[in-house]
Amino acid sequence: MSVDGRALRGGLGVRVRDARVQFQGTDALANASVHIQSGEFLSIVGDSGGGKTTLLRAIGGLLALTSGSIDFTDVAGASVQVGPRDVGFCFQEGRLLPWRTVAANVALPLELEGVGKGERLDAAHAMLERMRLVGVERKMPSQLSGGMRMRVAMARALVTRPRLLLLDEPFGALDEFTRVALDEELLSLARESGATCVLVTHSIQEAVLLADRVLVLRGRPGVSQTPIAVSLPSRDEDGRMSLEFASLCAIVQRELRAGSERAA
C-alpha cells in the first residue's frame, strides 16, 4: 500500500537555474535554465555534445554542478528534498543485471531499499503486468529482444513509483516500429503515473510527439532556449500525421539549426 500511495503525491517540479557543468575545464553544459512543471513531460533536444545528457544527469544527481542550482518542488510549489525512490532512470543500454531474472531485475530498486522479498516481488510482478511482460519473469535479459529489455528497464525505473522519470535516449537503439510502440506506451505510463518526465532524444519527432514542451539546447555547449509548447489534436497515429505535428517539428528544427549555423 505504501508503494501505491506514492503516485498520489504527484510529480516533482524541477527548477534549473544557470546550471553549468565543467569537465576538466571545458564546459559540458553552459548556463541552462528551465522550470519543469510538476507532472509535465519535457523533451530535450540538441546537437550531440550539446549537454542534453549532462543536464539530465545533473537533474538526477549523477553529477555535480560547477555553478548554478537545481531545486525540486512538490505539486503546491513548496521546496522538497528528493530520496532515491523519487527518481527513476531509464538508459539507452537498459543496464539490466545479466545474471538476474527479469523479475529480480525489476525488484532490484526495492531490494536495495530493504523492502521484503514478498512485497518487492509482488510490486515487480504488478509492474511487469502493466508493461505487458507477463510470462517472461523468469527469463534472463539475454533471452529477450531489445524492445523487451527496454520495457523491463522501464518497469524497473517505475517500480518505486517515482515522481520524476528521467529518460536518456531510451529507445535510441531500437528499430522504428518498436520505438513507436514504446513511445505510445511511455506516454500512457507517464499520464497514468502522474510523474514528471524528462526525455533526452535525438529524434525531433519523438520529442514533439511525447512532450508538453520541448527544450532546445542550441550550440556546443548548448544554451537553453525558451521551451516550445506542444499542443496536438491527438498523440496517436492521426496526431503524427497532423499539420500541427509537422509544423511543430519544423519550429524545433529551425530553433536547432539557428544554433548549428552560428557554430559552423
Binding site: P84, P109, L112
Partner: protein, 260 residues
C-alpha cells in the same frame, strides 16, 4: 552423447597411438625397466601396488582439494577486499605479487617447521601456489564491473555490502571461474611438490612420497604410475571446477551459454 564422443575420441586416439609407440620402442631397443618401463609394465605395477597407490592418491587428492578450497576461499575474500579499496590494493597487491614469486620448494621446509610432516603441510603448500590466480582474477573481475551498472546501484544508494554481494561479485564470477581453473591445476602441483619435502612416509604415504621412494628403489614403473595418478587427480579437480563454473554461469554468461 554423439558430441561428447566427438570431443573425447581424438585425444584418446592420440594417447593410444603414443602408448603403442612407447611400448614398441621399449621392446625394440630392449630398454631396461629402470630407465624406461613399458606402458604395460606401468599398468602391471599399478595393479600390484594398488593398495599403496590407492592410499597415496587419496592423500594427494585430499591435500589438493583441501588446498584448492582454502585457496579459493582466501583468494575470493582477499581479492574482494583489495578490489573494494584502492588503498588496500596499493598496499597489498605488490606484496602479493612478490609473495607469488617465492618458489614453493623454498618455503616447503618452513611449512614442515610450522605445521609438521603430513597432510597439514601439503595442504598448505597446495593452497599457497593456488591462491594467487584466484586473488588476481577476483580483483580483475571486480574492477571490470560495468560502470553503467555501478551507476544504477548508486542511484538507489546501495550500501558497500550490497554493491559487493549483488553487483561486483556476480560480475567477477566469470573471471573467478577462469582463475579457479588455473588454480585447480596448480593446487595438485603444489600438493605433490609439498609432499616431496613434507610428506609423511608410511603406508598412507602420498603420491609425492611414493615418487621419491620409488625413485630411490629404482622402481621407475612405480614412479610412472604415481605421476600418471597425480595427473588424474589434477584432471579430476579441473573437471569438477569447470563443471561448477558452468553451473554458475550457464544461465547468463556467453562462455557457458555457447556450450549449450
Amino acid at each position: 552423447m554423439k558430441r561428447s564422443l566427438l570431443v573425447a575420441m581424438p585425444p584418446l586416439l592420440v594417447l593410444l597411438i603414443a602408448l603403442l609407440l612407447w611400448e614398441g620402442v621399449v621392446a625394440a631397443w630392449k630398454l631396461p625397466a629402470y630407465l624406461l618401463p613399458s606402458p604395460s609394465a606401468v599398468a602391471r605395477a599399478c595393479w600390484e601396488e594398488r593398495a599403496r597407490l590407492g592410499a597415496g592418491t587419496l592423500q594427494t587428492l585430499m591435500a589438493s582439494v583441501g588446498g584448492f578450497g582454502l585457496a579459493a576461499l582466501i583468494g575470493v575474500v582477499a581479492g574482494s577486499a583489495l578490489g573494494s579499496s584502492r588503498m588496500l590494493q596499493r598496499g597489498f597487491y605488490p606484496l602479493a605479487l612478490l609473495f607469488q614469486m617465492v618458489p614453493l620448494v623454498a618455503i616447503a621446509p618452513l611449512l614442515v617447521i610450522w605445521l609438521g610432516y603430513g597432510l597439514r603441510s601439503t595442504l598448505a603448500a597446495a593452497a599457497i601456489v593456488a591462491v594467487f590466480p584466484v586473488l588476481a582474477s577476483t580483483l580483475d573481475g571486480m574492477r571490470g564491473t560495468d560502470a553503467g551498472l555501478r551507476e544504477i546501484f548508486g542511484i538507489y544508494r546501495a550500501g558497500r555490502w550490497a554493491r559487493w554481494w549483488k553487483l561486483e561479485l556476480p560480475s567477477a564470477v566469470p573471471s573467478i571461474v577462469t582463475g579457479c581453473r588455473v588454480a585447480a591445476g596448480l593446487a595438485v602441483i603444489g600438493a605433490v611438490v609439498g609432499e616431496f619435502v613434507s610428506g609423511y612416509a608410511g603406508d598412507q604415504a602420498p603420491l609425492g612420497i611414493v615418487i621419491t621412494a620409488s625413485m630411490r628403489e629404482a622402481r621407475t614403473d612405480l614412479v610412472f604410475a604415481a605421476v600418471a595418478l597425480s595427473a588424474c587427480v589434477g584432471f579430476l579437480l579441473f573437471g569438477i571446477v569447470s563443471g561448477l563454473g558452468w553451473l554458475l554461469l550457464r544461465r547468463w554468461h556467453a562462455s557457458a551459454v555457447q556450450e549449450n
